[in-house]
């Protein structure tokens, strides 16, 4: 049931003080980079004086630190933006604030959202909410952990290839990756323009529906937003659901397979039909993703050049040195790796062989999804092949790290909505999530299904 409702009608100042207190007492998780304490208390007082009203009046929340938001720098967990104070806020933040929500801090992430463990943060990793020796997941690791630790009832994140769903799965919370274009990307530090989406972490589905209702909608400042379509729905009975066979292989952790199968049984028990389906293009999804996404991010990160804002290298003599040294010191290794891959696949002579071919394969993948959705209302599978791994376990091997994205990138490439919902834990007590995926604009229907299952 909704946790957010518990905050309504109470002293906003007390809500904010409680959240700040919990944030401070959980500093060892390193989920937050900065608190926005001063501004949060000011806004809380405004709410208490009745100057700000709305559906979320006095409800504290946290944003991933790649959202432009007042009260603290927007760092993207990078040195290059370490002291960057934005003159304006992201549309999603503005929408929440206009309903009276109060941002109390900025969550840790992999620098520029490049990663799946939050270990690529320039300011140190975030620890898993269930096991301090394990990763939070990423890139929205901080947002997942503050939600899992009940520091705040919800947090915003961004998902380019699994960055909301994977940490949600690792920390046992609900993670929503909406349809591409459902939520404005305005004011969020861009990673890959064609797959970036803005979504939320909550502890339960009802709260996710409430937040989605508020943050979705057309925004004239983002030409790729869709017309308003999200409307909380009742669950449709007797749904046909496809279990993606390609995600249920022996490479996947047995406990992950077991929790997924149990969820499938729950769906059947609720009167839905679940059949195994094939998604043959899924095996190429990771290869497509690690061409298209680096290409786009190499372009989107070109603006961090030390000229107009952010970190600028000292002691340089030429313009080329200024660019080179600024970007060398301002970006983390993973940023540079991806910029190099992206620049390479866009180079003259390689564009056709890599980028264009990947885009064609992407179209084939989209077509496969569309074909499945002619027959099925939704698809189901695991979120990640494993529960949260140990800190440092995958850092030496980028390919192994990339493989954790294998089941989240297909829907990202296709622009489809997907949820990570808690499906139990391992014997050792690590959370495991299950992934529900639907056709474009089926976000509310997916959430309704998840809500029905939550009560079973």
């Amino acid at each position: 049931m909704s946790v957010i409702f518990d905050f309504l009608g109470k002293s906003a100042r007390q809500n904010v003080l409680d959240a700040l207190e919990k944030a401070k007492s959980n500093e060892q998780y390193h989920a937050l980079l900065n608190l926005t304490e001063k501004r949060a208390l000011e806004r809380a007082d405004s709410v208490d004086r009745g100057e700000i009203t709305g559906q979320l009046a006095g409800v504290p929340f946290v944003v991933k630190d790649n959202f432009l938001a007042f009260g603290a720098p927007t760092t993207a967990a990078s040195k290059i933006l370490e002291n960057f104070e934005s003159p304006l806020q992201a549309t999603a933040v503005e929408k929440l604030e206009s309903e009276g929500a109060i941002c109390i801090g900025k969550a840790n992430l992999d620098a520029f959202a490049h990663g799946g463990s939050t270990e690529n943060s320039a300011f140190g990793p975030t620890k898993n909410a269930f096991d301090m020796e394990r990763v939070a997941g990423g890139s929205s690791g901080g947002s997942a952990v503050v939600t899992a630790l009940d520091i705040v009832p919800f947090a915003l994140g961004s998902d380019t290839g699994g960055s909301i769903r994977q940490p949600a799965s690792f920390n046992g919370v609900v993670g929503v990756k909406p349809t591409y274009g459902a939520v404005s990307r305005f004011g969020v530090v861009a990673m890959a323009s064609s797959t970036d989406v803005i979504g939320a972490f909550t502890t339960n589905v009802a709260d996710a529906e409430l937040i989605m209702e508020i943050i979705t909608g057309h925004d004239e400042r983002d030409g790729t937003t869709l017309p308003d379509f999200f409307k909380k729905a009742d669950v449709k009975t007797n749904q046909k659901i496809g279990l993606i066979k390609d995600f249920m292989t022996s490479d996947v952790d047995p406990e992950v397979l077991a929790r997924t199968n149990e969820y499938v049984e729950k769906l059947r028990a609720a009167g839905h039909t679940v059949e195994e389906v094939e998604l043959p293009m899924a095996k190429y999804a990771l290869a497509i993703y690690y061409i298209v996404v680096p290409a786009e991010l190499s372009s989107n990160l070109a603006r961090y050049d030390g000229i107009r804002y952010g970190y600028r290298a000292e002691g340089v003599k030429t313009l080329a040195e200024l660019y080179g040294k600024t970007r060398d010191l301002g970006f983390v290794t993973e940023n540079k790796r991806r910029i190099m891959i992206g620049s390479y696949v866009l180079s003259s002579g390689f564009f056709d062989a890599f980028y264009l071919k990947a885009q064609k394969a992407r179209t084939l993948l989209i077509n496969e999804f569309d074909k499945l959705f002619e027959k099925y209302d939704a698809l189901i599978g695991p979120v990640v092949p494993t529960p949260a791994f140990k800190l440092g376990e995958n850092t030496a091997d980028p390919i192994r790290m990339y493989l954790t994205d294998i089941m989240t990138v297909p829907t990202s490439l296709a622009g489809l909505p997907a949820l990570s919902v808690p499906a139990g834990t391992t014997d050792a007590g690590l959370p495991i999530g299950v992934q529900l995926m639907g056709p474009r604009r089926s976000d509310a229907a997916l959430l309704a299904l998840a809500r029905q299952m939550e009560t079973k």
Binding site: E220, G223, T224, S299, A302, R308, L346
Partner: protein
């Protein structure tokens, strides 16, 4: 350098890329003021223009409409779907690290421009395509440091790429000038050349006469006048011929034009060419235009130069004279209102009390004033605000036909019409003020004639005239004109001189 004979051993080939600044109110992807002229540096720059993190481009539909109109002026097909791409390079005047342009699917497809030449002939220049893109900012260098001004960053441009269809500097100049007319008439650009509203990159190559393959080309960048297009092409022609005659070869490179030295010089060679890593811009949805959309945008477009050329054909001016008045769209519109007369023809002829040939006569006088007056003498503001309209010009022409003004005086008054101090005055009022009304009444002129004839200096001429030397009458009339300060009607003066001498 060379005689024409050496030059004539080579074919010259020229292609031109032209950047046209679109006259939108706001920039291509932001709401910032698009008119950067004379503004304080960095005063018309939005977070989108300076590439704040998280900013997204929002396409200005007005810019699309102007591009669609430009396409019509170029006789081009407009693409039903066009897209934006990113062209990457690092430079401080390029905030995003890429320029948003159209590499793969430009909005304006192949077209054709008919270019009239000075001698009355014309050439056809094919348009390869034209695409939309944003301008970069501006860098100024101050010894040890440089300053960035982003006022122009994000200004919408179209780049018109011609086929290499020009073969002389004169053709290059004529094309540039015709393109200017097309774009200003189509209402696509303000056409302020001084502020770089249109900039030409001229690609020049030579090949031995009759060769089928083009030579290596040099691109002279950023020319902002028709004359510099012509001179740069001429200079490049000679430079390249000289290289080849010396046994060297032309290098493919970018060159700059030094207006003071009237020379081009190398800026960067092909070896330094950057890899722009072009890629589709996923932040901007494709521009989708149905045939109906295109038709709608292109309807009610203002008339193009060809319209005026056709409708003035029967006035008998040569094409270079017509080109002179077409150089300014405002003047063309004004003259278009005078000729040909359309709807209210009868009323106007009645009011002026002339027949049709009489009206054409008035029209020609007005055209001739404009043809013979350099642009800088014409205050376009007075044309734009209607101060100098058809009525005043026709009135002035009638004063000449009616003998009230000499042609010389009329030209003086024509120029005076554009003077701010004469706003609201009729032609005749100005003529009176300037004391230029011609005296036709015999009584007034007789006295002057008598005075001239009584002057001993005239004696020789009078004797010669009496002896039958008709030519000297001009001298005597001239003296009368001089004494009357130009106000005497020369025909009347001549008649009176003859009468006096016959009787005397």
């Amino acid at each position: 350098m060379f005689d024409d004979k050496t030059l004539s051993k080579y074919d010259l080939t020229i292609g031109i890329e032209c950047h046209v600044q679109l006259s939108t109110v706001t920039k291509l992807f932001s709401g910032a003021d698009n008119d950067a002229r004379d503004k304080t540096p960095n005063s018309v720059v939005s977070p989108i223009d300076y590439a704040l993190p998280g900013m997204l481009p929002v396409l200005n539909r007005e810019a699309v409409n102007l591009a669609v109109r430009a396409g019509k002026a170029l006789n081009s097909k407009i693409a039903n779907i066009s897209r934006f791409d990113r062209k990457h390079y690092f430079y401080p005047d390029l905030p995003k690290g890429y320029q948003t342009t159209q590499m793969y699917n430009p909005i304006i497809g192949p077209g054709l421009v008919n270019v009239p030449m000075e001698d009355g002939s014309s050439i056809e220049v094919r348009i390869h395509h034209a695409h939309m893109e944003e301008d970069a900012g501006k860098l100024t260098h101050h010894g040890a440091h440089s300053l960035v001004d982003l006022n122009r960053a994000g200004t919408p441009l179209i780049e018109i790429v011609s086929e290499p269809d020009m073969h002389s500097p004169a053709e290059a100049k004529a094309y540039a000038s015709e393109l200017y007319k097309l774009m200003t008439y189509a209402g696509v650009t303000l056409g302020d050349l001084y502020h770089g509203n249109m900039r030409f990159d001229v690609n020049v190559s030579i090949a031995p006469k009759g060769a089928t393959e083009l030579g290596k080309r040099a691109e002279v960048k950023n020319l902002n006048s028709f004359r510099s297009v012509e001179r740069a092409a001429e200079y490049e022609f000679r430079r390249q011929v000289e290289l080849v005659e010396r046994g060297e070869s032309v290098v493919q490179e970018t060159r700059g034009w030094d207006e003071a030295k009237q020379k081009t010089s190398s800026q960067r060679s092909k070896e330094d060419a950057q890899d722009y890593r072009y890629m589709p811009d996923a932040d901007i949805p494709p521009i989708v235009l149905s045939d109906e959309d295109i038709k709608k945008i292109q309807s009610n477009m203002p008339p193009l130069p060809s319209h005026y050329r056709e409708s003035w054909g029967d006035l008998g001016f040569d094409s270079s004279a017509i080109n002179t008045v077409l150089a300014s769209r405002e003047i063309a519109v004004l003259l278009g209102d005078i000729y040909p007369l359309a709807a209210n023809k009868e009323a106007i002829l009645n009011e002026l009390n002339v027949d049709e040939p009489g009206y054409i006569d008035l029209t020609k006088k007005i055209f001739n004033w404009f043809i013979s007056t350099p642009d800088e003498y014409i205050n376009i503001d007075t044309v734009l605000d209607g101060t100098v309209g058809p009525r005043r010009l026709l009135e002035l022409a009638q004063l000449v036909v009616g003998g009230k003004l000499s042609s010389t005086s009329a030209k003086q008054i024509f120029l005076a019409l554009f003077n701010d101090s004469n706003v609201g005055k009729s032609a005749i009022e100005i003529a009176e003020e300037m004391n230029l009304i011609q005296e036709s009444s015999e009584d007034a002129i007789v006295a002057v004639v008598d005075e001239v004839l009584a002057d001993p200096a005239s004696k020789q001429a009078i004797d010669d005239l009496r002896a039958g030397n008709e030519k000297v009458i001009g001298f005597l009339v001239g003296q009368v004109m001089k004494k009357s300060q130009g106000k005497a009607n020369p025909t009347t003066a001549q008649k009176l001189i003859r009468e006096r001498i016959k009787n005397g």
